[in-house]
């Protein structure tokens, strides 16, 4: 029960994208079709869960015992790079999936602040191993949810007439703001 509450709270109440404001950039520049948004965000979610768990273990068994926490972010970046690369090696076996990704998609996962941010939040909360995995899973669910909602809204948005200065990023940011207002309602 405790874990279910933790899962739901990290997916909805403390949603990484809209309440913590991590990962706004991939949301803005992301894809405009629901099915490819689902594929892309699922890959991000896999890397997010794996790197949250690994970073937790790194912090607990390497950084803290040796008192080298000032190297934290360097370690985390390396871990995300390595996990991104490993996920790429596995996914390349599935035909027709990897072609639609950009060339440097897996390297650029580091610049998706959802992944690094979740690791940092987990460590700041001083939780145990299982709780960190649950928070990682919840954040991943929240991320996938937001990306799909946003892609669906963008599909509709193409049909709407808009003032010229509002087209593109401005209207997307305002829509994200209104979505964020809805997520505040969960509190």
């Amino acid at each position: 029960m405790k874990y279910l509450i933790l899962l739901l709270s990290s997916a909805f109440i403390n949603n990484v994208v809209l309440t913590q404001l991590l990962g706004i950039a991939p949301m803005m520049t992301g894809t405009r079709k629901v099915d490819s948004a689902l594929k892309l965000s699922l890959v991000v979610a896999i890397v997010l869960i794996l790197s949250t768990i690994t970073n937790y273990l790194i912090e607990e068994y390497i950084l803290y015992p040796f008192q080298i926490q000032y190297l934290q972010i360097l370690f985390f970046v390396l871990i995300v790079l390595i996990i991104g690369h490993l996920v790429q090696i596995v996914l390349i076996k599935i035909p027709g999936l990897i072609e639609q990704f950009e060339e440097n998609f897996f390297v650029l996962l580091v610049s998706n602040s959802t992944i690094l941010g979740t690791s940092l939040i987990v460590i700041k909360k001083h939780v145990n191993f299982l709780e960190s995995a649950v928070i990682g899973l919840g954040s991943a669910l929240g991320y996938v949810l937001i990306m799909i909602i946003f892609a669906a809204i963008q599909e509709q948005l193409r049909l709407e007439p808009l003032p010229k200065n509002m087209q593109g990023y401005p209207i997307l940011l305002i829509i994200a703001g209104i979505l964020a207002m809805a997520f505040i309602g969960f509190k």
């Binding site: 991590l22 972010i73 610049s111 602040s113 700041k124 401005p170």
Partner: protein
């Protein structure tokens, strides 16, 4: 392109935050106060300046295939430096910025300037470019955080200007930051065209 044009380019006509909405993730959350906004802007500029310098210094040693990876590790190193400096000299500010200080590494502005410009330009040119982009970023954050602090808390640089009855706490929270940035980007578009 001349060096001065390079500087103005990053400062205004290709302002990283207003034109490309880059680096929004680590900055929006901190920009609820003007001090916080300027602080994170300065930290970002520090990292941008030094990583641009370093990358253009060693650009001939980096193999083409791992350009982005190498740049990321250099950026992460400087972020760790900033984090340690803040922790030692400004612990109160460090507490305020919290997890968003290490997240400077995930700021796409830095990665973009380093991998698009510094990697094939001279040291001097990339330093000027980094200065221009950093100043543009700080300027954008200053505007954004001023509006948010004024409308959300009625304060500006911690000086009370608007009465408590007329403020809306929405601007301090996440939705306010997104809507303010959206309107600012639209405003910037129309100013640029005029």
């Amino acid at each position: 392109m001349r060096k001065s044009e390079n500087f103005v380019d990053g400062l205004f006509s290709n302002n990283p935050l207003f034109v490309f909405v880059l680096g929004a993730c680590p900055t929006l959350a901190v920009s609820s106060t003007t001090f916080g906004g300027i602080a994170i802007g300065l930290c970002t500029m520090f990292v941008l300046l030094f990583s641009s310098f370093t990358v253009s210094l060693i650009k001939n040693l980096i193999p083409y295939k791992i350009e982005i990876t190498t740049s990321l590790i250099i950026i992460a190193t400087y972020t760790a430096v900033v984090q340690s400096l803040l922790y030692t000299f400004y612990p109160l500010l460090y507490e305020r910025i919290g997890i968003y200080c290490p997240l400077i590494v995930a700021n796409v502005v830095i990665l973009r300037r380093v991998t698009l410009f510094s990697i094939d330009n001279s040291i001097f040119a990339s330093t000027i470019d980094a200065l221009g982009n950093g100043m543009g970023f700080i300027l954008a954050l200053f505007l954004l955080s001023s509006i948010r602090e004024l409308l959300g808390c009625g304060r500006w640089f911690d000086i009370q200007l608007i009465d408590e009855d007329y403020i809306s706490s929405l601007f301090v929270l996440a939705p306010g930051s997104l809507i303010t940035l959206g309107l600012l980007v639209a405003l910037f578009k129309s100013v640029k065209k005029a």
